[in-house]
Symmetry: C2
């Protein structure tokens, strides 16, 4: 697979997800309700769809058509989007901008944003429950998404994130925070692809190791971009970590140290793919892509 | 069934739900996280468990042991509890008290309350996904719960409730509001019981009619109690509807008119049960119990 083929494949899967998300909105988040409009505003507002693409890619890697995992992939994007809306709210991070536009509560008010996000997480589980896969598969997918998105996963990460705003974190605490806050959903992405494909245990385990490393790369690069990027490039304010005296991989290791760490975890991610052979080509390029991303 | 037997059965089912909810908290909402503690504070804080009891009762009425629906019943209570936490928040109703205690955000702060409620709704779907019923049943249950709790159900009701704070509602608008805000979950309760029991369509349809009427009775009595009860009795402030100039069944029809209306819908609820014979004894007494409740 060339870099160009990788790009084309990423774009194809991201667009496929985008189109399916629009259809799912029509079904589960009607515009008659203002919360439906607000949910669409945030959901269809230009996400990169990395999690969806990861799920589709895992499904294909496990030997099934990527499309089979499409509804699981979309459910994951819905859950991710709800978490961003709640995270941006005044009582959480109080962020006025997201993806270069006013965040949901700035656009629609707090009450509507709160409920719109609630509608998205609820719809995520409805999408899984109604997906055209076996009932066994759907139950496993719902359980995986709930565990990853719940009090033992992402939400615990959000709690830790809030906690370490007020006090500085050690390296171990930072790793625990991100394993939950970002890592859980990235792991869920490959898990959902594997469930849709009914992947062999060996494939699933390799992808789990890959996803754990990928999640770290993603987060370290996030911390780096907050220092090196511009608000225009990123679509959200930069420099906020330092301003808030937040412990990040950059504050712990410096810019160069953080870059090396990202590199190191990228190599571990690639190592996890090795046993999967050329079928893992896309995943390999994706990891390097996330390492080198500028936004 | 005597009134005493009805009471004993209600208590037994409510306790069964309570005990199961505690176990489910241990599994899905660990106390290591503060959001786990906050979720337990609200969930195990003395709800009446009407929705759970309704689900269990529907399951038994449909010819299966009530316990079969226990996890679905508990999932519904979790979802109900999450909606109360978000509803009490400053950007929504801004209520400082719930069930005679500080509401979740007063006790734990807004950020923790927000995430604790998120954890509860997520856990609700995890509980369903992991219930010991067939995968087909679990998928149907998850879809029903999501539809009832989502943008076409309860959340739309919350939106309308907020909307009609700012402008008065007509009778038709009030009915639409409550059919969504309260009615959807009460309907979901009997639906979940029927799904657990794999109920015959005729049973299910009769219970759907019953639940629609029951939901109205419940809401009308709520409006009446806001005028006639005391803060001590109710465990939350009374008189707030009038203070906020809110359209209620009492503001539309007066106290006597509202009482007659509740009576009327109670009779319709009982009529819906008639074809089910003596098996519906419990449901019949429950309806009258809700009509006559003092809190």
């Amino acid at each position: 697979m060339t870099q160009q083929e990788y790009r084309a494949c990423f774009t194809k899967w991201a667009q496929m997800s985008e189109e399916r998300l629009e259809k799912l909105c029509d079904e589960y988040l009607p515009q008659k309700a203002e919360i439906g409009q607000a949910a669409r505003y945030s959901l269809l507002g230009g996400g990169k769809r990395i999690r969806a693409v990861l799920a589709l890619s895992a499904c294909e890697l496990a030997g099934k058509p990527a499309e089979l995992a499409l509804d699981y992939a979309c459910a994951l994007e819905m859950l991710h989007c709800y978490s961003l809306i709640h995270d941006d709210m005044p009582c959480m991070d109080n962020d006025d901008f997201r993806r270069g536009r006013p965040s949901c509560h700035k656009q629609y008010g707090e009450a509507t944003a709160l409920l719109a996000a609630d509608a998205l997480v609820t719809a995520a589980f409805e999408v899984i429950a109604q997906a055209e896969l076996s009932p066994e598969s759907r139950c496993r997918a719902a359980a995986v998404l709930a565990k990853a998105g719940g009090a033992r996963g992402m939400l615990y990460g959000q709690e830790l994130d809030k906690k370490y705003e007020a006090q500085s974190a050690t390296e171990q605490q930072l790793l625990e925070l991100h394993a939950h806050k970002t890592g859980a959903l990235i792991l869920a992405a490959v898990e959902l692809g594997c469930i849709a494909a009914d992947a062999a245990p060996a494939t699933r385990q390799a992808l789990q190791r890959y996803a754990a490393e990928l999640g770290l790369v993603f987060q370290i690069v996030d911390d780096i971009l907050d220092v090196t990027s511009t608000t225009e490039e990123l679509g959200k304010p930069v420099g906020s970590d330092e301003e808030n005296d937040k412990t990040t991989f950059v504050s712990l290791y410096g810019l160069e140290g953080a870059r090396h760490l990202a590199q190191h975890h990228n190599e571990s991610a690639l190592a996890a793919l090795r046993e999967l052979g050329p079928a893992a080509d896309f995943m390999e390029r994706l990891a390097t892509d996330l390492l080198q991303r500028k936004k």
